[in-house]
Symmetry: C2
Subunit: 474 residues, 2 copies
Amino acid sequence: MTTDTNGAVGAALDHLRQHRDRHREELDEFLRIESVSADPDRADDVRRAAEWITAELDRIGFEHVSLHETSGHPVVTGEWLHAGPERPTVLVYCHYDVQPADPLAEWVRPPFDPRHEDGRVYARGVGDDKGQIFIHLKAAEAWMASAGRLPVNLRLFFEGDEEVGSEPVDEFIAEHPELLAADLCVVSDTGMQDDNGTPAITYGLRGIAYFEVRVSGPFQDLHSGGYGGAIANPATVLVQMLASLHDEHGRITIPGFYDTVRPLTDADRAASAAVPFDADEFRELTGVPGLWSGEEGFTAAERISVRPTLDINGIWGGYSGEGAKTIIPAWAAAKFSTRLVPDQDYHDIERMVVQHMRRIAPPEVRVEVRVIHGGAPALTPLDHPAVEVAARAPEDAFGKPPVFLRSGGSIPVVAALEAHVGLSSVLVGFASPNGNFHAPNEWMPVANLEGGMDALVRLWGALGEMTADQLRGG
Amino acid sequence: MTTDTNGAVGAALDHLRQHRDRHREELDEFLRIESVSADPDRADDVRRAAEWITAELDRIGFEHVSLHETSGHPVVTGEWLHAGPERPTVLVYCHYDVQPADPLAEWVRPPFDPRHEDGRVYARGVGDDKGQIFIHLKAAEAWMASAGRLPVNLRLFFEGDEEVGSEPVDEFIAEHPELLAADLCVVSDTGMQDDNGTPAITYGLRGIAYFEVRVSGPFQDLHSGGYGGAIANPATVLVQMLASLHDEHGRITIPGFYDTVRPLTDADRAASAAVPFDADEFRELTGVPGLWSGEEGFTAAERISVRPTLDINGIWGGYSGEGAKTIIPAWAAAKFSTRLVPDQDYHDIERMVVQHMRRIAPPEVRVEVRVIHGGAPALTPLDHPAVEVAARAPEDAFGKPPVFLRSGGSIPVVAALEAHVGLSSVLVGFASPNGNFHAPNEWMPVANLEGGMDALVRLWGALGEMTADQLRGG
């Protein structure tokens, strides 16, 4: 890094250190906004989160800051493109919506009233993903406030539908590629490798296809004494259908499901084996009595990242109150989803699953299957020139080299950016891998928030010393 | 029937006809009390229903009217024993508790604000079973008010735990046989054969064993992307366990379950075949696309009355809100119950089911199985002398001969009275077979309420012409 850049990076890092107290107050303000995208009653709160971001971007000095209407929640964009035409342009993607907080009773602290305790911040969205938007805002602010400029051309792109499948943002990407044109996309919606400061660069993601199925029988609940034996119980039919989706080898039984799964190469399996995976620790952290043997022929590390899966996400029907109600429920329903890997096409999988569920439905009931959302898997080559530079900044910030991961999660927008804008993505995330995303008691280490800002200040500095051509591998 | 008895019966029937308006108001008052025994928050309402009955019994002229504390809700007893020692003593059993009203949204009219429309009364409990208690109260009142006496010695025995398994009343029966001593028990907790005035005498009942199972895995909900593939999904395990409880022949797979089932004789099968069963009508009334083929080798009529069954009554776990939540739920639970036939012992069945569920639980999860309640099946011989006389009174009241049924439902107290007091029961019920017991929009034809009072006035008159010895078949 040049002396000039070194000095500018140092000044920006100093700026960060001098404003920790203000950062904390601002973060809490952002986390208090209940931006639950899945809940139609919270649409105004989701919009308030978008407006909070636009106000911040204006204040920091970004230009063309816009809140775009979509078929879902708003998209926020902004840019600062004065680093020079030969310098790289980087697109930053994060999402400001959060998962629902329920079951509320299992939160030890209120989900939308952030608590700073024992070096952690507890709140819904602090790791996934509002805390990471905040890291980006403060890193950019530190450069602008200390140097009056950014070392790279930066575009920001924040959405509010990630937790419900990103479909509106898929449309936005297809309609507004000019707002997203860049040499690289940096996504911050993933975690570190552990809670000891080991960074992680994620270069692959699973896709997703999410479904709801409802089995209906009689007009209304029936007395199980008077009708039991002659009525196909919708709850029984549902559990039989769902149970049949895995065979005794832990494989998914939907015809054609594995047809386009790219076989793992020796190199893939070696990369998977190189990622630390401690079964005892996994068991202890999650609280399960034992690990699932899962799909035969694959390790647990492979099964959670590079192999497709199917999980029931929720099931409900009939009586769940106190005591006994002797009914045949009129209907029962479930949500379930598959995680997909290259080269599975989520549209194909959606068709296969819907057809299969209809095919196995017995004629004594009515079965409806709805596709809730889908997203493609993604993979950026490990030898992409951006990967090395994106790895060095967190190493400098945290003092440890990163591990390189394929994540089991899904960020559908990464595949859409590749398809519509030709953009490769590198995922540099700062959440804790144990931070209870999508669960009660979500948390984020304060060290990761601070280290993340540090890493991004350094990353922009390092990328600012490259040309756009170099970054693209030209 | 003697001229004297004929005259007294006529006077009592006149009394009924003259007080229809008052009956309607009193019935509504009784139905408005929300006596949901399964809901701990309604315990006071359940007690109010018991108190309402004791006030009525006092007013009518019953003696030793008592509200007894039990381990559950109160038992109400009362007696009038001045018909003479040679006359029969009859015990009347009904229950004043009702099923929960949920799902509330499916009620067209409010469940606890009775509506009289088109010759029907709509309210929770009007058929099952408060409306039938009311029929008994008014029949006795008509005798007492018109003749100053009853033609038989009558004991009344009303409980408030029937919808949650009658366990407190089982204890009460064992502890207080002296309050229940009689020559015959008349139970009114069943229905007519149809809505065209065909009475039904029920001489057999199924037993029940009711369970709740909970499968737990991780401490809390986990991200299905980060953990899917290595964690046994508790909802998946639950549906696999529940699905395995039936085989492809519709038989229950719990080892030993059928061991003590008394094989059906040719006479049993002929009796079953003689009961009108119209598959098209059954389909139309319930709204199912088709009848379940169920247990192989038995007709639908047999499967709903004389064969044991297993039904899921409710299932719940994970996310059931709007849109998508990509979790592996921390736990999933279900309620399920078996209907039992002679000579299955519900205690044995409870042990078998609990052991079986534990045996099939995979080691990667925790499985808890709780017995919620149980009750024995019952059967009174068709040639019992009480059956003929009990059949004649509804025939006179409704103008049609009754059919003789074995019901698929369960009234555990019938078996307990046989075991502890040596009492045979005849079930004379007046509800509509389509009256939505245990479902939203419960209703009862006004004609059945009025005809039921008429039938009981006649039944007491006819029994009053027999001696106790004759009634017992001596």
